[in-house]
């Protein structure tokens, strides 16, 4: 669960990125966070992942209060999140399997856990046959599915996808969104940051629209750019 209570964020250079954000994302929800460039989406992502702290307001992420979280607790909080990036951020010299095992090793998983969990996640994203391939041997859509698998492999409460379809063609984008929807149906909360209007409108999920550091719309089953149901 994510809770923003009157969150303000002002950077050292004086830029006011967020101006009193209030939002709540409950466990099991599928949410689109939309808005133009510079609206504050990236700041919200960084706040959720603990890369930056709010200037003012109260922020809770999966049971952790990020206002007074200790540096030692930040890795534990991040283990409750799975993050998917627009540019995939896969390690080129590692195979698909090794990319996933790398993420599991990072939190100290044993070899037995790796052998049990990775095949299951690869099956879930439809890449069980490509475990031994390197990222460069995969299409863009497949690489993003590996990135989603990596985000899922540590069994997080929530997946945060930052422009996950930004580098993909419309068909592959749709596949990725359908995969995220399926993951959500299996019980994982999903937050997708995007500005792809067609995709958002097609799925008719909760849409939080942000502009100039403020939430301008928050509707379940909503549409992008105010084209409401």
């Amino acid at each position: 669960m994510i809770r923003f209570i009157d969150i303000h964020k002002e950077y050292d250079n004086g830029t006011k990125a967020l101006k009193g954000i209030n939002m709540r994302i409950d466990d099991g929800e599928f949410v689109f966070l939309v808005g133009p460039s510079g609206s504050g989406k990236s700041t919200i992502m960084k706040l959720i992942t603990g890369e930056i702290a709010p200037t003012q307001g109260k922020l809770m992420v999966n049971g952790y209060s990020l206002n007074n979280i200790s540096p030692r607790q930040i890795p534990m909080m991040r283990r409750t999140l799975g993050i998917v990036f627009q540019d995939f951020r896969l390690i080129e010299k590692k195979t698909v399997y090794q990319n996933l095992s790398f993420a599991m090793r990072a939190i100290g998983a044993s070899s037995r856990e790796l052998k049990r969990r990775i095949p299951y996640v690869l099956r879930l994203v439809g890449l069980e046959e490509k475990a031994d391939r390197y990222p460069s041997q995969l299409s863009g859509g497949e690489q993003q599915r590996v990135a989603i698998a990596r985000a899922l492999v540590n069994n997080p409460n929530m997946i945060i996808a930052d422009e996950p379809t930004g580098n993909l063609d419309p068909n592959r984008s749709l596949e990725i969104m359908m995969l995220l929807e399926r993951i959500n149906e299996l019980g994982t909360t999903v937050l997708v940051v995007t500005h792809e209007k067609n995709l958002v409108n097609r799925f008719a999920k909760r849409v939080i629209a942000i502009e100039n550091g403020r939430i301008i719309n928050d509707e379940t089953g909503g549409y992008y750019n105010g084209e409401k149901v």
């Binding site: 283990r79 390690i91 090793r105």
Partner: protein, 295 residues
């Protein structure tokens, strides 16, 4: 679920990183070897000089000659005054007759058989605790009423002390400089490895890896470089020492010098070399990665 300390993983990553940056690793090992070789060489000189000084302390006492007007009883009675002098550990009274016997011993000369004990004085053979204070002790004993003169081989003792002190001083300065240079090179090697893996580390942090988990492979890398440097330096030191020792022993002019066998120094020098190498490696690694982990 999570394993607390994945030693196998840290070792694999550390070793792999050494070979990824082979040249920097080689340079780091060379610096550690140079540092430890110099430290070892000066330490070995100091240890041998200490040993020789120990021999001097054990074998070469200074002599205090008693005034000829003193009877033997009066002379013996001076022992308490001599023992009261600081740094004096033992005072052995030697009569004129005993002194003459000692003088004759080993000398095959008919002329000596005609000598009378009266030509010599009663004396004390005085041992000191610290050879560096030999001159001060001898001067103090000379001030005691009844002591006519003293004889102390202060020149030899002070010569050894001076050489040892100079060797120690030079060693400390050189070790200081080389330790700083070694730390700098190790730190740069680790920084390079860190920079090379920055994407992986960013991913690890996003997955929830702790700083300790990220730091350990780099510390292992530093430890391996330090240990490798230490072992190579130790083996080189051994070879150089044996060569020098052989040359010194074969030199007739330097028969005064007693060189310790390297085998007797291994139990001390090997752990010191390994410890110093490990310390340089670990400190270099920790310094290098400390500021990169603040995310």
């Amino acid at each position: 679920m999570a394993k607390k300390f994945d030693f196998g993983y840290y070792c694999r990553e550390g070793v792999s990183s050494i070979f990824t940056h082979g040249f920097m690793s080689f340079a780091a090992v060379c610096m550690i070897v140079a540092c430890l070789l110099i430290m070892g060489s000066f330490s070995l000189v100091a240890v041998n000089l200490d040993n020789m000084l120990g021999d001097l302390e054990a074998e070469n006492e200074f002599l205090a000659y008693i005034d000829e007007s003193y009877t033997q009883e009066q002379a013996v009675a001076l022992e308490d005054d001599i023992m009261a002098v600081p740094n004096v550990s033992e005072a052995i009274f030697v009569t004129r007759a005993e002194a003459l016997d000692d003088f004759r011993e080993g000398r095959d000369n008919q002329l000596l058989s005609d000598l009378e004990p009266d030509v010599l004085r009663d004396r004390f053979r005085i041992h000191v605790e610290d050879i560096e204070l030999l001159k001060e002790s001898a001067d103090a004993v000379e001030q005691i009423p009844g002591v006519a003169d003293v004889y102390a081989a202060t020149d030899i003792a002070q010569g050894f002390v001076m050489v040892r002190n100079i060797a120690t001083g030079i060693a400390l300065v050189l070790i200081g400089i080389l330790v700083v240079m070694s730390l700098f090179i190790i730190a740069n090697t680790i920084k390079l490895a860190f920079f090379y893996r920055r994407e992986e580390i960013a991913i690890m942090k996003m997955c929830g890896a702790t700083n300790a988990f990220i730091r350990w492979p780099f510390i292992v890398q530093g430890m391996i470089l330090g240990l490798a440097g230490a072992i190579i330096a130790f083996l080189l030191q051994w070879g150089v020492y044996e060569l020098v020792a052989k040359a010194v022993i074969q030199s007739n002019g330097l028969s005064l010098l007693a060189i310790l066998p390297f085998g007797s120094l291994v139990p001390v020098f090997l752990p010191v070399f390994c410890g110093a190498g490990l310390l340089i490696g670990v400190v270099g690694s920790v310094v290098a990665i400390r500021r990169f982990l603040q995310v």
